[in-house]
Symmetry: C2
Subunit: 420 residues, 2 copies
């Protein structure tokens, strides 16, 4: 069996496990995403080891070096996971109209800014109080900043409440959050490497990131409304779907090239097509791609969880402290941005912004590679990223119940709306 | 940018290149697959290098070892390619009813057997005549045997002639071809490693391979007809598509575990669902997966072509000789199996079986790793695999023209058939 074919086995196990557990969780009235994350932990290389462990073909390809073969296998699975979360955010974008986003624009900006500031200040202060060096404290503060919106977006979509005001505020705030996180990382990296902030570089990145977002959201939506119908002139099969996929991948790559998260680009690509999505039935037609690819992200994310991290005596105390700070300050900061809304709405917004996913890890690993973050603190950040990711779906599910109920009643009142 | 995200850039370039060239080739009246293969050669690491070359993130992940980083990147791209060709053969299976296959069963078996025997005998005899050792000659003979049906299947599907008798004979023959190739590889490996044939092992593999094919084709089709409707009881979204995907991946992995090609399993999975595919609109619903994933196989296959191989003075003479033998004997053997049909039909069947793709490479690389095949002869097999793959689509396209024409007329006569 060629090495690439041996990885099909991992893909099969991930897919079947995700769907079986999805069926089970749907039947017990829980979001499938919780099941996918948990089954990922279970079948991952640190527990049952059904996935993520290289077979003989892979070992042979990498000259019997198990570490390299494992790394290469994880890389291949992570590419599927990344495509999965890109498809997810593209779908979320398809269901998010620019006009609706602009209505909550100011609110989203405030949620984004407060949700970034509080964790940063609290994280840095905590580290300084514990006697860590300034630069290291700064990096840990920045690592606590960036929300990874994939988990929350999936819960919101699974529950069918993407069109709720809270959902839009969270999605908009995630864009601001990502831009701010990028700027803070640039600043921290500058201080870490040269000891000072390169103001020109920070301004360039700010202009690029804001410019990219504004151009795609505003000009992109306008251009799609005006010119998307040109796809009808193409000769290839399924041209609307093909062009949409190219836009999704293209903007994801462009966002990543600027330094933003790829999923922000995918979300914006979806949003710029939101107005014409209904006419071309993009969401309905592309659904199999969602069903096939999205579970890879959640199962692979779960499989990265090493339960032994939670058993390390020397770091677990600090890790739990940092995790609590990460959860409380993000929820408080982002929630505070929702002031004026109901308490439940503020809670939804706050909790929805809590997951950090891999973004914090990227910051910490940059610090690690620059030699300004110790290994001990890196694994603290890993625990924080894992814990904030796993804790959110059940809480959010519980907080959103009344909203889901209201949507269901509303759908029942408007004939024909239910099966949209 | 995380390393996995950097590979999104390769995926984007492959996808956009495939679709642009697909549009161009459709407009000039050529099958898109030819364009995808050629654009793969063009953008591949041996020409323009737009894909398949690791960026800084990948190099860092693999400790600045360019060889390992390149290997890991290729592995990730090949997994997408493999999923692509699995999806392709699954679709081909969906359009192939068991009853129709059984009607051409004997014919397909004869085509398969003759198409295996002639290249094996001629290849081995040629090597012996050139003074190569017996075991090495045997391995080269086996490397010339196995048809890789993906290329031909794509051309047949692109041209809309999958339901032609010639297409069914080719697909059935490819299954026999794969089983025979596996048995001959087992025999050659036995002789290469221990000097003798393990008859028990050969029988076990024969029983497994034939049993797998028969059980999936016969019992699988029966079971699908009887029990597939149980998917309606599942709670997950799009259950028919999800279960089909699980069957596709599952049988592909099972076939590979037995030693057959993964695509044979995927083809059988599709065929067992062919009868219920129309009721559940499986083909139509899953089309975006086809559009998204299938091009990866053809562009990545093209990108593996190293034009320098054709410029190696010391081997190119032998390589061309072997390639000509591989083409002529396979076309003659398989074509001869079509005796009694028209000359054009025999030509279509013969040419359709010519592509060897990666199967010959696997045989040669096993011989290489056992130390019974020299590097020089390995690169001869690479040239043969590449040349037989690239040469077939244009010839097949030309041979099939009248058939395509006839189909079009037939479709025009039956109202409503054309837009099926």
């Amino acid at each position: 069996m060629p090495a690439a074919v041996s990885i099909l086995t991992d893909l099969l196990i991930i897919f079947v496990a995700a769907k079986l557990v999805g069926e089970l969780f749907t039947r017990i009235g829980q979001p499938a995403v919780i099941g996918e994350l948990l089954v990922g932990v279970l079948i991952g290389p640190f527990a049952l080891g059904l996935i993520g462990r290289p077979g003989p073909e892979l070992l042979e390809l990498f000259h019997d070096d198990p570490a390299v073969a494992t790394e290469a296998l994880h890389l291949a699975l992570e590419v599927f996971a990344e495509v999965g979360v890109v498809v997810l955010l593209f779908f979320v974008g398809l269901e998010t109209r620019l006009d609706d986003m602009l209505k909550v624009g100011w609110r989203a900006a405030i949620v984004g800014v407060l949700g970034v500031l509080l964790p940063f200040v609290a994280g840095t202060a905590l580290m300084l109080a514990l006697g860590e060096p300034t630069i290291e404290s700064l990096f840990i503060g920045v690592a606590l900043v960036a929300t990874s919106v994939g988990i929350t977006a999936r819960v919101l979509r699974d529950l069918g409440v993407l069109d709720a005001q809270e959902a839009r505020i969270i999605l908009g705030a995630a864009v601001f959050d990502d831009i701010l996180g990028l700027l803070m990382l640039t600043i921290a990296s500058g201080i870490g490497s040269t000891g000072e902030v390169n103001v020109g570089q920070v301004i360039t990145i700010a202009v690029l990131a804001l410019g990219f977002t504004a151009v795609v959201a505003l000009a992109g939506t306008w251009a799609a409304r005006r010119w998307f119908h040109l796809v009808d002139r193409l000769q290839i099969d399924n041209a609307p779907v093909v062009v949409s996929l190219a836009l999704m991948l293209g903007l994801a790559v462009l966002a990543a090239a600027i330094g933003l998260a790829a999923i922000i680009g995918a979300f914006l690509a979806g949003m710029m097509l939101a107005e014409i999505a209904e006419e071309y039935e993009l969401g309905r037609k592309m659904l199999p791609l969602y069903e096939f690819l999205v579970p890879f992200f959640f199962v692979v994310t779960g499989s990265l969880v090493d339960p032994r991290l939670f058993l390390q005596r020397e770091t677990i105390g600090l890790a739990l402290l940092v995790t609590i700070v990460a959860i409380v300050t993000k929820a408080a900061g982002a929630g505070l941005g929702g002031v004026g809304l109901s308490g439940r709405s503020m809670s939804i917004i706050g909790v929805g912004m809590v997951p950090r996913g891999e973004v914090g890890l990227i910051v910490a690993s940059i610090g690690l590679s620059m030699g300004v973050v110790e290994h001990r603190l890196f694994s603290v950040v890993v625990v924080m990223a894992v814990a904030t990711t796993l804790i959110v779906p059940p809480i959010l599910n519980w907080l959103l119940r009344p909203l889901v109920e209201a949507h269901r009643l509303q759908a029942a009142e408007v004939p024909g709306h239910a099966d949209r």
